[in-house]
């Protein structure tokens, strides 16, 4: 099929990466817009990264004309004004598609002919965008502010194992984008997601649409407050805690040594032993043990009275023996697991996250060793406000499980989806390991620069474009795409509502009966 498209302008000069085009008078270039320069053999996709005014009239005369209009109220009309005044767009080449092999695309290495006409991109031009077997849908292709009905897919397992960074200023759509990704991946056989949700926004409590409504039903939700029917009370048995899980918290060396000594002596009962002040072979300063005891009581929400331990929160001596194991098993069965951490302190959230992530990573390392990793889905951990665990300040004090996953998780099919509005706080080597960056509107120049410096494609001319991204508009730079793709994130409610409606219609046909219940007259 031959794509038609609307003529937007014409190439007039420039050099590679800085192509200059004149805009046609009845059209308007937009930042981020994709246009096509076409000849008999190929289509070159170009993207606008800057726009400026230009005129055949000298600057002095333009200023005079403006003065006459403003000061003398004398309206001046140009002869052939569309020829004399116009706009110039700066474009960079994205990709070249050869017409004889429209499914194949290559990075542009030559310039289109001078005076090539530039036209709008149309759906038919995009047949080279293929859908991988395990497709991860990110949204629809966007050209400037115009959204095309062309879904953009990346290879899900590759993207997730090589970590994802989602960045953008508050209000630009990070949560909607994440909700869409969770919705898309949930129920798929290639991946599972562990979501540490400090804002409790993804499950959809209180009648809001959320993952609880996902037709696959493959969502496990753990919460410690007002547990909705079908959700799980977040309970973690004290016996599952190990001293190394506290590594991402700021315990002193002496306190860490004391924890290890108690663990060595009392095994699974080490926390209780510290609190109950049981003897330990290694001598520790009383103050160290007292502070450690006080910190553990506070952190784990425990009370101690009459030589007995009382559990008030998540950490328990009776319940939750299998919680961490069950979460890992659910992830291995491609479920999405959401942990509501909204009512925890940052430290408790990190402890829980660290505990689960350590167990999950250990299991996947084991699968790699025994050669069964190919049978497991990619496990991806969603981290909101990522600098809390991946920030420079935190990592200067020592690594943690999340930085280990960031560095070597891809070898074991474990990935991170790090969300932040402050990517500059994350060390460059970790940012560089995030091989897919989903960039939403970012006004702060320093943050934009941090992303640009670590992007998979050359985004050196895209700073202005990134600053101008509106709510729901984003740019995807990935090792798994040929060029940085502009997309529009669909509204989560719209996306989910369609799936929910079709699932409900199927469910309404199911009969419900309650055999074994004796029915009585009220």
């Amino acid at each position: 099929m031959v794509a038609s498209g609307v003529v937007k302008g014409q190439i007039i000069s420039g050099k590679f990466g800085e192509i200059l085009a004149r805009q046609k008078s009845d059209s308007a270039f937009e930042l981020g817009e994709i246009v096509i320069a076409e000849d008999a053999e190929k289509k070159v996709f170009l993207q606008v990264y800057d726009i400026e005014y230009s005129s055949q009239v000298s600057q002095q005369n333009l200023e005079l004309i403006s003065g006459l209009a403003l000061e003398e109220d004398a309206a001046m009309e140009f002869m052939d004004k569309n020829l004399r005044n116009y706009k110039l767009a700066f474009l960079k080449p994205l990709i070249t598609v050869w017409k004889k092999d429209a499914k194949n695309s290559v990075l542009s290495k030559s310039l289109p002919e001078i005076f090539s006409t530039l036209r709008t991109v149309e759906r038919e031009d995009l047949s080279f965008l293929t859908r991988p077997a395990h497709a991860l849908c990110l949204g629809n292709l966007r050209s400037g502010s115009h959204t095309l009905n062309v879904p953009i897919y990346l290879d899900g397992p590759a993207v997730l194992t090589h970590h994802v960074l989602i960045t953008g200023t508050t209000g630009k759509g990070k949560s909607v984008l994440m909700s869409n990704l969770l919705w898309d991946i949930t129920g798929k056989s290639y991946a599972s997601l562990l979501v540490l949700d400090p804002h409790d926004e993804y499950y959809g409590r209180n009648h809001a649409i959320g993952l609880k409504d996902h037709p696959s039903g493959k969502v496990a939700y753990y919460t410690a407050r007002d547990v909705p029917t079908g959700a799980r009370s977040l309970k973690i048995n004290l016996a599952t805690l190990r001293p190394q899980h506290f590594g991402c918290l700021d315990f002193s060396d002496a306190q860490e040594q004391a924890m290890n000594a108690f663990y060595k002596e009392y095994g699974a009962k080490w926390v209780e032993s510290i609190i109950l002040e049981k003897p330990v072979k290694v001598a520790f300063n009383d103050a160290t043990i007292n502070v450690l005891k006080r910190r553990l009581l506070y952190l784990l929400d425990l009370d101690f009275s009459a030589n007995q331990l009382f559990c008030n929160g998540v950490f328990d001596i009776t319940a939750g023996e299998n919680t961490v194991k069950t979460i890992c098993e659910e992830l291995e069965k491609t479920s999405t697991v959401i942990i509501d951490t909204s009512n925890f302190s940052g430290q408790v959230e990190l402890l829980i996250g660290s505990l689960i992530a350590s167990e999950l990573f250990a299991r996947y390392r084991h699968y790699k060793r025994d050669g069964t990793i190919a049978q497991k889905p990619v496990a991806s951990i969603v981290l909101e406000e990522a600098p809390r665990v991946l920030g420079k300040e935190v990592l200067e004090k020592g690594g943690n499980i999340f930085s280990s996953i960031a560095r070597e998780g891809r070898k074991f099919n474990v990935g991170l989806v790090a969300i932040t509005q402050l990517p500059s706080l994350i060390p460059r080597e970790i940012l560089a390991n995030m091989n897919t960056k989903i960039i939403l509107g970012t006004e702060m120049a320093g943050e934009r620069q941090a992303i640009i410096d670590s992007a998979s494609q050359d985004l050196s001319t895209d700073s202005r474009n990134i600053a101008a991204l509106d709510k729901g508009e984003c740019l995807i730079s990935s090792n798994f795409s040929r060029f940085a793709i502009p997309i529009k994130v669909p509204f989560f409610e719209t996306l989910a509502a369609q799936d929910i409606a079709s699932a409900k219609s199927a469910a309404s046909k199911e009969k419900r009966a309650f055999p074994g219940v004796q029915f009585t007259q009220e």
Binding site: R232, E321, N322, R512, A513, G516, V517
Partner: protein, 403 residues
Amino acid sequence: MKFAHMADCHIGSWRDPQLRELSSEAFKTAIAQCIEEKVDFLLIAGDLFHTAIPGIEHIRSAVKELKRLKDAGIPVYIIAGSHDYSPSGKTMIDVLEEAGLVLNVVKGSIVDGKLHLKLFTDKKTGVKIAGMLGKRGTLEKQFYESLDKESLEKEKGFKIFLFHSAITELMPKELTSIGASELSYLPKGFDYYAGGHVHIVKEYTGKDYKNVIYPGPLFPDSFAELEKLGNGGFYIYDNGKLIRKEVLIKKTAALVIDAEHKSPEEVEEMIAAKIHDRQFTDTIVLLRIAGRLKTGKVSDINFRELFRKINAQGAFFILKNTHKLLAQEFEEIKIEEKSIAELEDALVREHLGQAKITGVDTDKEFLLAKKLIAAFETEKHEGEKVYEYEDRVRKAGDKILEL
């Protein structure tokens, strides 16, 4: 207020008649304790019987004990469990209820598509009691999904909820393979949750759920349970105080033998050393032998002679567990004891590649097999006709095979 809570009596369990009789005896002992303790009422949280239609001699002994309770003015509130439930309603619990010996509290109505359970009020104490039956394969979860919890939660007074389900959050490490439901399915704010189904002894109190109790079986019904629990028991709630009453029927003696790299003769010697000079009067002897023999076969171990000696020392019964005892010759055994799912995966993998299908590699074949197994495991829905069920399963198979 004082009441007793028992579950998983499994009257009629065990294949061996001698052990089977003990389940009835345990029930008899527990009932005697209830009468002696002068409880106001008794709760039985499922699986009174091992089957929906038990043998006549077990019905007879249970009825006799329930009659004693009735005569003592102690009402019995009961629910059906996964063993004594029957979708057709042909269960012995209904017969006992007709005879006025028990009250099955799983009663209610459908209001706006929701299952509205009735709360029964105990006349003497004013305690309100409701319950949900247990079904095999955690199928009662569907009932909980439709349960009108709000109507139960807003009711005032001292409330008890009977349930016969495994609760995910309370499962011990060794029982993760059991299907379980989330705690949040239970109505909140009751004063006592009388649990059954999982043979563990557990007391749990959390924010919205107070006194969630699993009393364990009245008499252990497997080798592992006898080994772990020794004997059964039940709970008495006495004005806020929880007391676990042991039901001592027989003593148990667990003998564990590590046969790794031993000859059959050496194993015999180890067992002989363990039983030497011991009295097993009225005791169930549990003999667990594990490991890989260095020579010979498992059958080379002269168990007959060893058992004769143990019996001579007064044993009531000898149970032997040699699941993990292997001979050298059986090195080719490829599958060790794992969970059912793992075992299934291992078996499927072992047989991959036998059917040659163009375009289907072994990975795809594995996935196809797993999907088909899952599709064929689908149970018939309540109220679904057989032909509808068959058609649904067939279509699911066709879809998987892309036919």
